[in-house]
């Protein structure tokens, strides 16, 4: 990363139009100290390093991250969005609702610290607060697993149990968490039902391929039947080079098929796998990676209940000039 020699005296304010994905509706104050030079165009100045997203909606926001199809990146999304939220200063409880095949703890690198799960809480082997695993990197992030890999959970009980968990988190002493993210297992089985039961909103993760899309549409239908109206999608593993070569559906094609607002577009990134191996979510990487930045942006939109207004569609040949300052 090169050091920019852009002078401080020229903060380069950029006025943004509504077709910008990075534009936020102007009725919400964006910067803490935005100078109101032009009343109709919010001006982004260097002061935005103090920016913090505005939490919209009632807390705790109970968000289920689901997909229908397996392996499309639900757990990756939960881990990265969750830690991004924690870094933005919100308290987050991530619940791994996968009864049989839990792996959120692995992605977070917390696998050695999960001693108790919801099943043990239900049995009276421990209290709920003992089952919550607090991340040492970001102490406002906590992980709760629903069960250990080999323990059996009575069916039809998981949903109730999660509702109790949410209730208990609501009136805990340190105050309710801002976000409760529920990592939903694949399929539309009991695990899915368990995961969606306490949720008020959903993030649908899909990849731009037809199998994943069909499942996503089905799952969206089920969520809507269940009364979850606030559904936004994250399109994962997008390859702009393949889209350009017409080998992959574009994000806008996906949107046309599903008719859902976009929370984020995550590019295919080998760093995702590397971060899984490390147990160190991508968003904590320094310098940030493409997918990490995309997750952070998605988290930001989630906080503000915002959606994308434009998507990055194709790579253009890199021009010399202004942008060459930022060569990565």
């Amino acid at each position: 990363m090169m050091i920019s020699l852009q002078p401080l005296t020229n903060p380069k304010p950029s006025t943004l139009n509504p077709h910008n994905p990075f534009y936020f509706p102007s009725h919400r104050p964006k910067t803490l100290k935005t100078p109101l030079l032009k009343p109709f165009f919010p001006i982004q100045s260097v002061l935005q390093y103090n920016r913090k997203p505005q939490l919209a909606g009632e807390t705790p926001r109970v968000v289920v991250i689901t997909s229908g199809k397996g392996g499309v990146g639900k757990t990756t999304t939960t881990a990265n969005v969750g830690l991004s939220l924690a870094r933005l200063g919100f308290s987050v409880v991530a619940i791994d609702a996968d009864v049989g095949l839990r792996n959120l703890d692995l992605l977070l690198g917390l696998e050695n610290r999960v001693n108790y799960t919801v099943v043990e809480v239900l049995n009276g082997d421990c209290r709920l607060d003992q089952a919550l695993v607090r991340d040492k990197r970001w102490s406002n992030f906590e992980l709760l697993c629903i069960s250990k890999p080999r323990s059996k959970l009575p069916l039809g009980f998981g949903g109730k149990a999660l509702i109790w968990v949410v209730e208990a988190l609501k009136d805990r002493q340190e105050g309710p968490p801002d976000f409760i993210l529920i990592d939903c297992p694949a399929g539309i089985d009991a695990g899915f039902i368990t995961a969606i039961t306490p949720a008020n909103e959903a993030v649908l993760v899909t990849t731009p391929d037809i199998t994943s899309l069909r499942d996503a549409d089905r799952v969206t239908g089920l969520l809507e039947c269940d009364g979850i109206r606030d559904i936004k999608m994250i399109v994962n593993r997008v390859r702009t080079d393949m889209i350009k070569g017409e080998d992959m559906m574009s994000v806008l094609d996906v949107q046309e098929m599903l008719g859902l607002a976009l929370l984020g577009v995550i590019p295919e990134d080998s760093e995702v796998i590397r971060s899984t191996n490390r147990g160190y979510p991508l968003v904590l990487n320094k310098p940030p990676t493409l997918a990490g930045l995309a997750f952070e942006q998605a988290a930001w939109r989630l906080v503000e209940q915002d959606s994308m207004q434009a998507v990055m569609v194709e790579e253009e040949p890199k021009k010399r000039g202004w942008f060459s300052f930022f060569g990565g």
Partner: protein, 356 residues
């Protein structure tokens, strides 16, 4: 927060062309800082480093009352408060800011004052360099607390060792730049074109309607095994059938729901099962005592201590208070706890036992 340090130097100690001028290095130094900031994202919230040389008609020399052009160097270290950073530049600024003001007065003799000025500058440099190196070596020393933080043994936010990158803006930073026309965006060194999202509310509603026709679904409320009969009061649509050999699900609910709910809501004290186990073991111990067999029973005190939850004598009263939800009753708990205790009587003595 903002500290001001005025350093007056002899006119001759600075190049002649600077005298009687008002010079601002702001752009250069500021530009450097902003570059630094870009490189070191957000650690540096609002740093400003202004070096300014200006002429000042201030003379304290007794022998020569003549007002001479005297250069004043103001180093303003304007560092935002509360920025914990390992940025060496900020450390340097802090060091500079913490030094007392030094005023070098103009002396008549050219060479003496020149030497003095030179000495002062050299000394200053040495001090700054030394403290910088000291800090650097302290941070890089292996086996420090920073290593504990790195290994996840200590919380970083409390120690203030690593920088909590709160309120970082993912939309405008050195890695993400929106083009001037807003039709392009630069991310991680790659330039992308932006295509506006065209989905309208109406289209969204049409999709919703389509789905509501395509998928009619009721969330299953009852789970039954093959062979079970559907209860009469249950909507057949909400029944989910699961295979008997399901890998991780069971329909047989061997836990009492109210009790389970109470367990989830419990905030303090000893969890129910641990307490039940403890009581059962205690009873067993008592019965053994009555039979004069106590001598053969060995209790491992070390193992008992390892067990984190302390057993208190006032467990029961504490337990009663924990009822946070009004709709769940305590009564099923007690009926259930008796049976649970009985079942534990048959279990072998565990290490969790502790002598009352």
């Amino acid at each position: 927060m903002a500290s001001l340090w005025t350093l007056q130097l002899h006119a001759a100690s600075l190049p002649r062309c600077y005298s009687s001028t008002h010079l601002e290095f702001r752009a250069e130094v500021g530009g450097f800082c902003s570059g630094f900031r870009k490189w070191n994202r957000n650690k540096f919230v609002d740093g400003k480093f202004v070096l300014r040389a200006l002429s000042d008609p201030w003379n304290v020399d007794e022998e020569h009352k003549r007002i001479d052009d005297q250069n004043e160097v103001i180093i303003k270290a304007n560092v935002a408060r509360g920025v914990k950073s390992q940025n060496p530049l900020i450390k340097l600024q802090h060091t500079v800011a913490s030094l007392p003001p030094v005023i070098f007065l103009k002396k008549k003799h050219f060479s003496i004052s020149f030497a003095a000025g030179l000495c002062a500058v050299a000394m200053l440099l040495i001090v700054v360099l030394r403290s910088y190196l000291a800090r650097k070596s302290r941070n890089s020393r292996p086996g420090s607390v920073a290593d504990l933080v790195r290994r996840g043994q200590l919380r970083s936010d409390r120690r203030g060792i690593s920088t909590p990158l709160k309120y970082e803006d993912p939309f405008n930073n050195p890695m993400v730049k929106v083009g001037k026309s807003n039709s392009t965006v630069e991310m991680c060194g790659k330039l992308y074109r932006l295509a506006p999202v065209t989905l309208t509310k109406e289209q969204q509603a049409i999709h919703q309607k389509r789905r509501s026709h395509a998928y009619q679904w009721k969330r299953p409320k009852v789970f039954l095994k093959e062979g079970d009969s559907v209860p009469s009061d249950v909507d057949p649509d909400t029944v989910r059938w699961i295979p008997a050999n399901h890998p991780f699900a069971t329909t047989a609910s061997d836990i009492d729901e109210d009790l389970a709910q109470h367990n989830v809501y419990q905030k303090h004290g000893v969890p129910f099962r641990i307490q039940a186990e403890h009581e059962a073991l205690q009873r067993k111990l008592e019965s053994l005592q009555n039979e004069q067999k106590l001598g053969k029973l060995v209790i491992d005190h070390g193992a008992a201590k390892d067990f984190e939850r302390p057993f208190k004598s006032h467990l029961k009263s504490e337990d009663q208070v924990e009822q946070s939800s009004s709709n769940s009753q305590m009564s099923p708990k007690h009926t259930n706890s008796d049976s649970a205790q009985n079942s534990y009587l048959n279990r072998p003595a565990s290490d969790e036992m502790q002598k009352p």
